[in-house]
């Protein structure tokens, strides 16, 4: 088990390095440079030179990366080109809304998805519902679904706020209300993915030879489903939950923009539109670190459910 | 007995070691096998005995750590690349599982032609005639070539695999558990077919099996393997009637014989109550 965690951590290092390098590798392809992007087309040559000096753009690329990396290891991800604020300061403030949204959506999707999938394992109507909704869920763009929900619940029924975010410290009730629509939007497709996976791996587990042995030995059906089959089905379900979490991370890009939530995703969109490379590089680092943590948790969970992993 | 002065395949002092993680594992330890012309040599043993490893080593599918293999007088121990592939004209193989012995996506004909194509023999011969000939030789209709493997039973697919092994006219065929997955009546047909083909074409077989009774039936000579080493080898008659090695004895005794009278006399003496004699019931 310990070896597994160490292996996963060892794999995380190149992942973090590659992810951190991406914007630097691409910089030579930039038409103009950060200074030009920052000051706009009307800047004078002197202004540009000064800005370049300040941003360290005159250094060779590897040295720029090295400076950035040593800074990053000390918790300094540079300064936003647009707002001139430190990237970490900017992004730390955006962490709460994004994490509320992602964790909320993953929890909702996992609980309902697994419950549905277990019940749907034995074919029947629910089984068909799960099967067909999984195709539909793949097809419905999440941003479109979010807009439709806004139209129905905010514009037409006026039940929920259409946009905006209230921090939990300010008002927990409003916080929850402001997250309902975004969480539903993110969790619906995820839910059907988890339900489908649960149904499929439960069906496989229930086909296992040991299920027949247990039945023949008079073991109760509930024990067979929850103690035995679900445990055997757990690993692929966990994998999908991990993927759903990482997917929700990507989903924030569109969802936070629709619901005007000041999170990592909406920040990334603004940074892209304004070509604020240090800021978007910062979001890459945050996303990558969150992904690494999630994968680690999923791996630990594998070990809990699968004794074969635990022993090695 | 067959003329043993003319060996088609000789494997001398074969040792195969694997590395599994940090551990070394000896799959075969100093094993010798010699297959005479037009004879069948059996390799028998249980799981982990190394019998399949030896087959793979001879076929060039696993690297040999030490030892030497000679096929028709040619040293093939460390042949690689093109020269190894060229051996497909002299040595072919038939494997266990009739469900995967043929690519389910290809017609039988395409599977049969594959060895000819690989050996660049397509131009030299009348391909359709050769396909029809081998199919007939294994007791199938020539029109089987245009059909898909799923349209055939397990026994028929095993026949087609044999046909594929014969199509390049090899001298040696390695049968790796080739009849083990078949039902008794079908197994009998395939065993008879192998015997017939040997008589008609002078084939030599290396016959790998875990089933002592099958080996006893078809092999001229037997080699008993246990955990990668040879326990005993010699003419089948001698090994099966006067085994010298205790493991061979145990193996022979463990395989039940399809005759209740004989079988109950062979049962292990530890059995507390001897089987009651009920021969009086038979009229």
């Amino acid at each position: 088990m310990l070896r597994l965690i160490l292996r996963r951590l060892a794999l995380s290092i190149p992942l973090a390095l590659i992810a951190s390098m991406i914007s630097f590798v691409l910089v030579p392809f930039l038409p103009g440079d950060a200074a030009r992007a920052l000051l706009g087309p009307n800047a004078t040559a002197a202004q540009l030179a000064a800005a370049r000096e300040e941003l360290g753009l005159n250094l060779p690329l590897w040295q720029q990366y090295w400076n950035w990396l040593t800074g990053a290891l000390h918790g300094d991800l540079g300064t936003s080109l647009i707002s001139r604020q430190p990237v970490t300061e900017l992004l730390n403030a955006r962490l709460e809304p994004s994490l509320s949204l992602i964790i909320g959506a993953t929890l909702v999707a996992s609980i309902i998805g697994i419950a549905m999938g277990v019940r749907a394992a034995r074919r029947g109507v629910l089984g068909r519902v799960v099967d067909s909704s999984s195709i539909l869920a793949l097809a419905i763009p999440d941003f479109w679904l979010g807009l439709v929900l806004v139209v129905i619940f905010a514009v037409q029924l006026k039940l929920l706020p259409p946009t905006g975010y209230v921090p939990i410290a300010e008002d927990p009730g409003m916080w929850a209300t402001s997250l309902i629509l975004p969480i539903i939007t993110l969790s619906l497709p995820a839910l059907s993915r988890i339900a489908k996976q649960t149904r499929d791996s439960m069906a496989t587990a229930l086909d296992g030879t040991y299920v027949r042995t247990l039945r023949a030995a008079a073991v109760k059906e509930n024990s067979i489903i929850y103690r035995h089959a679900l445990r055997n089905a757990a690993v692929p379900i966990l994998t999908v939950i991990g993927l759903v979490f990482v997917g929700a991370l990507g989903g924030t890009v569109a969802i936070e923009s629709i619901f005007a939530i000041p999170g990592l995703g909406s920040t990334a969109v603004q940074a892209t539109a304004s070509r604020d490379l240090p800021l978007i590089q910062g979001v890459v680092v945050y996303f990558t670190l969150i992904t690494i943590v999630v994968n680690l948790i999923v791996d630990l969970a594998y070990g809990y459910f699968n004794p074969r992993v635990r022993v090695k | 007995m067959k003329d043993t002065s003319y060996p088609v395949l000789v494997a001398e002092n074969i040792t195969v070691r694997y590395r599994k993680g940090r551990q070394h594992f000896t799959a075969l330890d100093n094993v010798n096998v010699r297959i005479p012309h037009a004879a069948t040599v059996g390799l028998v043993g249980e799981s982990g005995s190394g019998k399949s490893t030896l087959a793979k080593a001879i076929l060039g599918l696993v690297p040999i750590t030490t030892g030497r293999i000679e096929l028709l007088g040619q040293d093939i121990t460390h042949l690689n690349g093109r020269r190894r592939r060229g051996l497909g004209r002299s040595i072919q193989a038939v494997f266990q599982d009739p469900n995967t012995s043929l690519n389910p996506s290809f017609t039988v004909g395409r599977s049969l032609i594959e060895p000819l194509k690989a050996q660049n023999m397509l131009g030299d011969i009348d391909v359709d005639a050769r396909v029809a000939e081998v199919l007939t030789a294994v007791g199938m209709e020539p029109d089987a070539a245009s059909r898909q493997p799923r349209q055939f039973s397990g026994g028929q697919r095993q026949r087609i695999s044999i046909a594929r092994a014969l199509i390049t006219n090899p001298q040696v065929v390695v049968c790796d558990e080739a009849v083990s997955a078949l039902d008794l009546s079908v197994q009998a047909q395939v065993l008879n077919l192998l015997t017939d083909l040997q008589r008609e074409r002078g084939l030599s077989y290396l016959f790998i099996s875990h089933d002592m009774s099958v080996v006893k039936h078809i092999c001229h000579e037997v080699t008993v393997l246990y955990r990668g080493t040879i326990k005993e080898s010699g003419p089948t008659q001698q090994i099966t009637t006067q085994p010298a090695d205790p493991y061979t004895k145990a193996l022979l005794l463990a395989a039940p014989i399809a005759d209740p009278v004989v079988q109950r006399q062979r049962q292990r003496p530890t059995s507390a109550v001897p089987a009651p004699s009920r021969t009086s019931l038979i009229s």
Binding site: L138, L277 | G88, E114, R150, L191, A258, P260, Q263
Partner: protein
């Protein structure tokens, strides 16, 4: 009865079904949804290409007098905020939307397929490098990398789609590698290697062809998600494609006016959903079609219509009234389908070992599971009776079965390791099963687990109890399965091929164990086997099954020495263990008739050298013939007197 091999194949040919009814017709019959979906995608593409010709308006043509209109005769799908025709814009947007998705797909396939196949086939270092890199790449959050690329390459859709293809390919690599790992172990790949086929040709023919199904499924899912992601980027205004409309961009425009009208959201959203769904359905159809291809023809009977044959009343009266288990005329069918077992009739007395013997497909395992009430979903018992200890389990239903399971009848299956739950220890299994039968204090429970392991002759119970199934050998696992079966102190054990998957020396130990248990505890054993040696070794009585019915039964010595059904005699003669070295084996021509195409009369008649016209005439009952055997053969006495059946 000796038949040469060439005679044999002609009898096996009827299975060859001519199946040429046009490629499309066949596809339509099997996968109607897949065909509709393919046509839909094609239609969207063609209409998109023809947009300049057939669209009622130009894409950018504004009419500020009719902004935000709903559907009308002039504008079938209404107009947007600038009064542009929504239908025309959708049509103009089709080609770029699909083309960009296809660019991503091309990159996805070009990277994923070769690397996946090479990694799976070559293994070793190449595999570990490719797999590691893929694993790392899969952990990178794709959307954010797309944003970086878009920031650098000034919102270029092509750059975005190439990146998407690259970022998606590790998923395909993993799937293709997984398939390749399985396929490369299949015998035909090894056979091709032995035949001298070059590795590159093996990869390009066998492996690509076998991985094609999964590849196409992945491709269809990927194209769909590429369309959605591309729409999302356009929606966010991060793709610049000149003035050309895009589906995602149209949703973005619609979202600006959401407080005024929601209509423009509908057409653009639906076209994306329908197109992506169509790709998904095509993928599903491909998956079903390719998994169909690999399945053997024998599986197809599941869907065939039932042909009901009423079995004749069996005419024998052996004294089985006091037998512990009596199975009479048991009949098992596929739900809405063919009958697999029509007439299983046999009994097991207290303390007796009875063997059911037959070749694969004769229905012996289905009979065992039907007797136990443990048929897999899709099969059901539709006739007969199973009387255990005086109680008819079939007519009393589930509750009667629950009462005897474990406590009255124990069960041991063929797959020893698969019969244990891999996530629980040996002790976990035993505890749960013991507690179902008796409430014990923790100390007593521990004692009982040790006792059971000792009963199955496991030397060090304390160590074995802590082990997981993957840590024990097949023989050990089978001992534990027997211990589990014994946990409820049953009077009968049904063992379905308990030693078939084991080595012969281990088989001998397990058979020995079963025999000892039977002798020490007066246990009854019903053993299912295809191995005459096991029957000879274990059984007091033998029951021979053929094509879904019992054809002969009797005392084991009688069945072996004086079989009274020609199939029994032929099957015994085919056993090499009693055939002298060098002698030809007896064979049986033809093959077992498949369920659903079994003849009305004697089912063996088509392969029997002694068959007459009368043999095919109506269902044949089981009857008693001298020297006390029960047989279905109407010529049994005649053949016996000729001496052609005896050995």
């Amino acid at each position: 009865m000796t038949v040469t091999s060439s005679q044999r194949s002609s009898a096996a040919l009827p299975n060859a079904v001519p199946r040429r009814q046009g490629w499309l017709g066949q596809a339509w019959k099997r996968q109607p949804l897949g065909v509709i979906a393919s046509i839909f995608i094609l239609l969207i593409f063609v209409l998109g290409v023809l947009a300049p010709v057939i669209a009622p308006f130009k894409a950018g043509q504004q009419d500020l007098l009719v902004t935000l209109n709903g559907p009308s005769s002039a504008h079938w799908l209404g107009t947007d905020a600038l009064g542009r025709d929504i239908l025309s814009r959708l049509l103009y947007a089709a080609v770029p939307s699909l083309t960009y998705a296809l660019i991503a797909l091309a990159v996805f396939l070009l990277i994923g397929v070769p690397l996946g196949i090479v990694a799976g086939y070559r293994g070793g270092r190449i595999d570990s490098v490719i797999s590691r890199v893929a694993e790392i790449a899969m952990s990178i959050p794709a959307v954010i990398i797309l944003l970086v690329v878009l920031a650098v390459f000034s919102s270029s859709p092509i750059a975005a789609m190439i990146t998407l293809g690259v970022l998606g390919s590790p998923g395909l690599i993993r799937v293709v590698r997984g398939v390749t790992l399985v396929v490369r172990e299949e015998a035909y790949v090894t056979a091709a290697t032995v035949a001298g086929v070059k590795p590159v040709n093996i990869m390009a023919t066998h492996l690509v062809r076998r991985a094609l199904g999964p590849i196409l499924v992945q491709a269809s899912v990927f194209v769909g998600s590429a369309l959605v992601i591309q729409a999302a980027l356009a929606f966010l205004g991060l793709l610049s494609d000149g003035d050309r409309p895009t589906w995602g961009g149209m949703i973005g425009e619609a979202s600006q006016v959401i407080s005024l009208t929601s209509w423009p959201l509908v057409p653009a959203g639906l076209i994306i959903i329908l197109t992506v769904m169509a790709f998904g359905l095509v993928g599903d159809a491909i998956r079903d079609a390719t998994s169909d291809e690999a399945s053997p023809a024998g599986r197809r009977w599941r869907r065939r219509r039932a042909k009901t044959v009423t079995p004749a009343a069996n005419q024998f009266d052996l004294d089985t009234k006091n037998h512990l288990l009596q199975v009479r005329n048991l009949r098992v069918s596929v739900d809405d389908g063919v009958t697999l077992v029509d007439d299983a009739t046999f009994s097991v007395a207290q303390g007796e070992i009875v063997a059911v013997v037959g070749e694969s497909g004769c229905g012996k395992s289905v009979t065992a599971l039907g007797t136990l009430g443990l048929l897999p979903p899709g099969l059901h018992v539709d006739g007969g009776s199973v009387i255990f200890d005086g109680v008819d389990l079939l007519s009393r239903g589930a509750e009667a079965y629950a009462a005897v399971r474990g406590g009255g009848i124990g069960y041991v299956a063929q797959d020893a390791l698969g019969s244990l739950d891999p996530t629980h220890t040996v002790e976990g299994h035993l505890r749960e099963v013991i507690l179902r039968h008796e409430k014990l204090s923790p100390a007593k429970l521990k004692q009982r687990t040790h006792e059971l392991l000792q009963q199955v002759q496991i030397a060090d119970p304390a160590r074995v109890l802590k082990l997981y199934p993957h840590e024990i050998s097949g023989g050990m696992a089978q001992r534990i399965n027997i211990a589990l079966a014994l946990a409820g102190r049953p009077r009968l054990i049904i063992a379905d091929e308990p030693t078939t998957a084991l080595d012969v020396t281990v088989q001998s130990e397990i058979l020995h164990l079963l025999r000892e248990l039977q002798q020490s505890t007066k246990l009854s054993v019903l053993i299912i086997t295809h191995n005459w040696g096991v029957v000879a070794d274990m059984a007091d009585r033998a029951v021979v099954m053929y094509a879904g019915e019992v054809v002969e039964m009797g005392d084991v010595y009688t069945v072996f020495q004086a079989p009274r059904f020609p199939y029994t005699a032929a099957l015994l003669a085919a056993d090499p263990s009693v055939s002298p070295l060098g002698k030809r084996l007896e064979t049986i021509p033809g093959r077992v008739p498949a369920p659903g195409s079994r003849p009305t009369g004697c089912r063996f008649a088509g392969r029997c050298p002694f068959a007459t016209e009368a043999c095919l005439d109506g269902p044949l009952p089981l009857r008693v013939v001298p020297p006390g055997s029960v047989t279905r053969c109407i010529r049994a006495e005649e053949l016996a007197s000729e001496g052609v059946l005896d050995r």
